[in-house]
Symmetry: C2
Subunit: 267 residues, 2 copies
Amino acid sequence: VTLFDPPAGEAQLPAAVLRVRMVVAYDGSAFHGFARQPGVRTVGGVLAEALERVLGHAVELTCAGRTDKGVHAWGQVVSFDAAADRFDPEQLQRALTGLCGPEISVREVTAAEPGFDARFAARSRTYRYTVLNRAVPDPFRRHLAWHVPEPLTPELLELACDPFLGEHDFSAFCRRPKTPPGSEPASLVREVLRAEWSALGDGLLRFEIEATAFCHQMVRSIVGTVVAAGHGRIRAGDIRGILSSGTRAAAPPIAPPHGLCLWHVAY
Amino acid sequence: VTLFDPPAGEAQLPAAVLRVRMVVAYDGSAFHGFARQPGVRTVGGVLAEALERVLGHAVELTCAGRTDKGVHAWGQVVSFDAAADRFDPEQLQRALTGLCGPEISVREVTAAEPGFDARFAARSRTYRYTVLNRAVPDPFRRHLAWHVPEPLTPELLELACDPFLGEHDFSAFCRRPKTPPGSEPASLVREVLRAEWSALGDGLLRFEIEATAFCHQMVRSIVGTVVAAGHGRIRAGDIRGILSSGTRAAAPPIAPPHGLCLWHVAY
């Protein structure tokens, strides 16, 4: 795939390149996560292939948060370079709507300032996690909410959020990335700006958490622990202990992916 | 499958039988409609098999509205007979929740008066049809709303509902059932009590229609025609003409099944 296809015989000039920013929603149940991978259907793969088809050149996508298999997004932000002479935001949005199918929806397409990077320019990410806390499940939310039949105590859920606020080493609440031989292990220090529950009625509970950045499986690890606290199986003091221990083994099991949604990214 | 399994040697006495009423919700995208059929996964088939497993005897289900493939229900009502000595409503609901999976949810289980029939005792049925009327689709509603990108005019949608109100022969807005040789064709006269649209914001439109009863594909036929009217392609006067013509050929195409939900049944 070339950046442009000059008429035969004409000299090949470097095309003017434009940085593009898109806001994307997707139903994670239809994909093996975001990151493009050969042989499996991923959000990044479907999006990049559609962009390459429309723009006629190779596309390298950067995203604000690499969501795992089964995790949804309402406000995922991606950035990439497009040949300036091929860029028409409305036409691109229409074409992607047709090509990416109903599982992915491109909510916004805009020209960004040069050098804008969806990952490194982000100031904070907000995730939502939905729990359905009642005996009877809801068939229409089975891909969107974690069904927890045993009653949760709202006060215990609230109290269990406190230990996570502020800057901590989240080693006990992350899946540690592999460190290549000879290099330093990546820091798992992150700053949580906000973590709160709201009751939406009919047993629906929503957890919203905002942090400068998240490490791998951090929200699902936190939710798994906070829900255990909501059942009285662990207390806020225990959570502080697990955080400072830095070992994942002591933490309760992580929450399933289908309740999680990347809600908003702030720049 | 027998009604009960007497210890070997004991005499087999007829068991006392109880009429049971359940309210059931399901995501129709996971099923080939309600009616039990060999070789395909249907709502009635999954429910009856689960009931037979729990109760230990054969179960014949009657439902208030036989929904088609892809059509959802929030308030489907079913009735059946259970051996009285095996009937415990709470235990039955818990067991069905486990056996029927997240696609079907049994919302209520109660003992009904003898002879209660979910179909013939119903005074009216209310269906909801959801349309997403905006350019950009919503991945989380792709199984629950018909995505209509071209703008609809609310006043035209409202006007197009009027011709359907009251008692009419709905031959032009139904799929006519096969008439067995030698018998009278079934009447397609039905009475529509209410038909209205509401705007829910973000392009979501909800059509709600209540009738004493519906014939096959009647709601989807009406919605297809009303939406054509909302685009200005047909007028209320034309709809009156199609109704009185009694021929389906003149009507616009029917709406897809995934926007439709059997919402409530009144007794």
